[in-house]
């Protein structure tokens, strides 16, 4: 009996604290989940860390993203956690369906896959407060999981590590009274199509310094609209690789769920041009 009441109390106490993680940061300051797993926009990471944990607080997120293109489809799912608003680890699994290209080129597989393990550390600054913008450094270990096709077209390796440095800052009232979020960064990478087509190639096998960035207007703390850009390398001679861009709308109804809808302009991917389509992402924060 005593044990039962203890159990009941335990359940009740748990019930009184339905939220596992703390939510010390302001809404939307954890960003969404980018295609490679780190907190960010859609196609680029931001300097913010995932979730809403502040000093001495934990936070965890899970996300799913789908990008529907005329000839392809990219699905991503992943998880991320941050501690102390200082360090973030993330994992993402990508699956890129090759669609019509499979029969056209009689390819041995119908999709490309990649796993990405990410680490991001906030070096200094804050996205809203203090004098300096928030600046973070990240590392990504990427593993292309079915290398036959990338190897066939000249990719040199199926795994690689790349780094990025990124800064984020909210400028209050800078967009006709509305808050403006600006992110900019550089990446040191030789990943072909994020790494889905392997790393390095016949044209170039060394890492390139690539620019990426985004600008977003916050109509209120819950709604954001913006554009993103990501420079990409061009290592394989069999096909051109386009820089990516998108126009997105983010909706953060509360600190537990968020949505991003975008029009993504991905250009030429594996010989097929005009791969522009819709990007939809949902994130849960715990």
């Amino acid at each position: 009996m005593k044990r039962l009441s203890l159990l009941l109390c335990g359940l009740a106490c748990l019930g009184a604290q339905p939220v596992l993680a703390d939510n010390g940061r302001l809404i939307a300051t954890g960003g969404a989940s980018s295609l490679e797993g780190p907190a960010g926009g859609g196609i680029t990471p931001w300097a913010v860390l995932t979730g809403y944990g502040e000093q001495n607080e934990w936070s965890a997120t899970a996300f799913a993203t789908t990008v529907n293109l005329p000839d392809y489809r990219l699905d991503v799912a992943g998880v991320a956690a941050s501690y102390d608003n200082r360090v973030e680890v993330s994992f993402a699994r990508q699956r890129f369906d090759l669609g019509s290209l499979v029969s056209k080129l009689s390819l041995p597989e119908d999709h490309l896959g990649q796993d990405i393990l990410g680490l991001k550390v906030r070096l200094f600054g804050d996205v809203i407060y203090d004098r300096l913008p928030q600046v973070s450094m990240g590392l990504e270990y990427k593993h292309q999981t079915n290398f036959d096709i990338p190897q066939l077209v000249g990719a040199k390796r199926d795994q690689d590590v790349e780094g990025y440095l990124t800064a984020s800052r909210l400028f209050m009232g800078a967009a006709f009274g509305y808050n403006l979020l600006i992110n900019g960064g550089v990446r040191y990478s030789r990943a072909n199509e994020l790494g889905l087509m392997g790393f390095g190639g016949d044209r170039r096998d060394t890492r390139s310094l690539l620019k990426e960035g985004s600008v977003a207007v916050l109509f209120n703390p819950r709604w954001a609209m913006g554009v993103e850009y990501r420079q990409k390398p061009d290592n394989l001679s069999f096909s051109g690789e386009s820089d990516w861009a998108d126009l997105f709308i983010g909706y953060f109804p509360n600190k537990h769920v968020s949505f991003v809808l975008a029009y993504a302009k991905l250009g030429e991917i594996a010989t097929l041009d005009n791969q522009n389509g819709t990007y939809l992402s949902v994130q849960g924060s715990f």
Partner: protein, 140 residues
């Protein structure tokens, strides 16, 4: 030459007397003193229902806090008020206010301004005036 000197002095004096009028547009957009009082009272009510930070306000003279906050917001908004309270560093000394506590208060303030129908650009202007105070408020 003497005339020129005199002219210069007159001009300088005039310059002192005619300080550019203080920009009180934010003060007016917030509804002047009455509007600011409603915002502050709304924020304090939100705090009273906010389990994250309500404990921090238990032993505080809420009446006085309200009056000082109204003065402070009024001054920051460019209104014709004088702030008679302590500095932010003094009033928060030893309280170990965390970054999360500070953000919780910001959220309670935003909710109060939303309830008063204050447009987002006006809210942003007030928050932009208050945000730099975080350094003096939180523990380091």
């Amino acid at each position: 030459m003497r005339g020129l000197k005199l002219l210069l002095v007159v001009l300088l004096l005039a310059g002192c007397a005619q300080q550019p009028p203080k920009d009180d547009s934010l003060y007016r957009d917030l509804g002047e003193r009455a509007g600011i009082t409603r915002i502050v009272e709304g924020m304090l009510l939100n705090i009273a229902h906010d389990p994250r930070i309500v404990e921090r306000f238990r032993k505080i003279d809420i009446q006085r806090l309200r009056d000082k906050l109204v003065e402070q917001f009024c001054v920051e908004a460019g209104g014709p008020c004088v702030y008679t309270g302590d500095t932010m560093a003094e009033s928060h000394k030893g309280q170990n206010v965390s970054r999360s506590d500070f953000n919780a208060l910001v959220e309670d303030l935003i909710a109060a301004m939303d309830a008063q129908g204050i447009p987002v650009p006006v809210q942003n202007r007030l928050i932009a005036r208050l945000a730099p105070m975080r350094g003096e408020v939180i523990q380091h």
